[in-house]
């Protein structure tokens, strides 16, 4: 996990180089994909192939068994573009997300009661996502994607005879609204 965090921070830093605070380029609303039942986000379009986004998600007791609030940072890379007609674009993307939960039972820094290096942070998970985005209007885009957690990917590697990728991961559905 710590190597993933280092790689992700390096990626985030290099993409954000020379970045000045400005009004976000878009808003996003998502459901599923491990970020929450309802996830609201703001994002910046860095260039034609990279977006950076931060989101806050909420899952109610009735769906998660407990109330869960999450925050995440997402870097999205558009790897392909298909022009469907004059008003419609299909974009393929991968994204890398760090997901944080502020639940009191979880931690980022190992509490002092544990021996050194006893556990990885339990309040952070990494998501790998692939998906497609349909830009159907100048302002609106819809996306559908599929996310795997770091635990699912590493456990799949260890248990490929038993676990199936089809039974892991989660679908995510979202909408992006361009504000700038």
């Amino acid at each position: 996990m710590k190597y993933l965090i280092i790689i992700w921070i390096s990626l985030f830093s290099s993409l954000s180089y020379g970045f000045e605070f400005k009004t976000p380029d878009y808003l996003s609303l998502q459901t599923g994909g491990y970020t929450g039942f309802a996830t609201l986000g703001v994002g910046y379009k860095l260039n034609n192939i990279w977006d950076l986004e931060t989101q806050m998600g909420y899952t109610p007791y009735s769906l998660g068994g407990i109330d869960i609030t999450t925050f995440d940072l997402k870097a999205r890379w558009y790897h392909s573009k298909l022009i469907l007609d004059d008003n419609m674009l299909l974009l393929g993307y991968f994204s890398s997300t760090f997901l944080y939960s502020n639940d009191k039972d979880m931690f980022v820094v190992l509490p002092a009661k544990y021996p050194r290096k006893y556990y990885d942070p339990s309040a952070i998970r990494w998501l790998f996502t692939f998906g497609s985005m349909f830009q159907i209007h100048d302002k609106y885009s819809f996306y559908i994607d599929y996310s795997y957690t770091d635990v699912e990917l590493t456990k799949y590697y260890n248990n490929y005879e038993y676990l199936s990728l089809q039974n892991l991961g989660s679908i995510g559905l979202g909408i992006k609204y361009k504000i700038r």
């Binding site: 459901t31 599923g32 994909g33 491990y34 970020t35 929450g36 039942f37 998600g57 899952t59 769906l63 998660g64 068994g65 407990i66 869960i68 999450t70 469907l84 299909l90 997901l99 939960s101 639940d103 039972d105 979880m106 009661k113 544990y114 021996p115 556990y119 990885d120 339990s122 309040a123 998970r125 998906g131 497609s132 349909f134 559908i144 994607d145 599929y146 957690t149 635990v151 699912e152 590493t154 456990k155 260890n158 248990n159 490929y160 005879e161 038993y162 676990l163 089809q166 039974n167 892991l168 991961g169 989660s170 679908i171």
Partner: protein, 254 residues
């Protein structure tokens, strides 16, 4: 083109919809209670054998193979998994273990490990498997299944509870053995003294991932982790206990 887009949507729609990796919305199965009922209905005669598995901890494939191996025997009265069912205490990890355990021919019981107490693991464990600490009788012996994960569970270990449960016919099972550095030396001394005073036949654990056996005044056995493809086998006779470590090729007495 539009056909391909529809196909893409259909492909995605075959997948699952999950809201959070930390959700705890699991069915209220209380598997231990169901299996304790099955055990209570057995004939319960000496000698009887108990299979000992420990620390599946994400190695579900190996855990399942261990259960398949145990299914090839017809002399196991019940199986105990000695904690660390998961690595991160996530719902999905618990579900993998629960689903794999369904193939077991013998009733299977679980106790929690330190990793199972991470994140929301405690809530999930309780719903899926039942109480953290519990006891049951088999023939004239009493099995004391003790949650001794002191760093992850507030208020544990419950020493007065343990003292009240042990007697000369008690077989103690807990995840952490009386050797680990999470316990202070005074606590380990108190624990050992308690077992000696009560003159228990044996204490059995997991956590260390390799099979170990030692005897001071009390016999101690640590069951191997699932990833080793080995399992422990406890044979209980009226006045003695024997422990073996087994592979698919046979068993070696400890």
């Amino acid at each position: 083109m539009y056909f391909k887009i529809c196909l893409l949507f259909c492909l995605f729609s075959c997948g699952r919809l999950e809201y959070s990796p930390w959700s705890v919305d699991v069915p209220d199965t209380k598997l231990n209670n169901k299996n304790l009922y099955l055990i209570s209905k057995q004939r319960q005669e000496y000698p009887f054998k108990v299979a000992l598995l420990a620390d599946p901890q994400g190695h579900i494939q190996d855990f399942r193979k261990q259960l398949e191996l145990l299914n090839s025997r017809d002399d196991i009265s019940f199986t105990v998994v000695l904690g660390d069912l998961t690595d991160y205490g996530l719902k999905e990890e618990f579900e993998w273990v629960l689903n794999a355990s369904r193939i077991s021919n013998a009733p299977i019981l679980f106790i929690p490990g330190n990793h199972d107490g991470l994140a929301n693991g405690k809530k999930i464990y309780k719903q899926m498997f039942g109480e953290y600490s519990y006891t049951f009788n088999y023939a004239d012996h009493k099995f004391v299944m003790w949650n001794n994960n002191k760093l992850e569970w507030q208020g544990e270990p419950n020493w007065p509870w343990l003292a009240s449960q042990l007697n000369s016919k008690s077989i103690l099972m807990s995840h952490i053995p009386p050797t680990d550095d999470v316990y202070q030396s005074e606590e380990i001394e108190y624990w050992k003294q308690l077992m000696q005073d009560k003159n228990i036949p044996i204490s059995i654990h997991g956590h260390l991932h390799k099979n170990m056996f030692w005897s001071d005044d009390i016999k101690h056995y640590v069951a191997p982790a699932s990833v080793t493809s080995k399992y422990g086998l406890l044979t209980v006779e009226k006045d003695s206990t024997i422990v073996e470590t087994c592979t698919k090729n046979g068993c070696i007495k400890e």
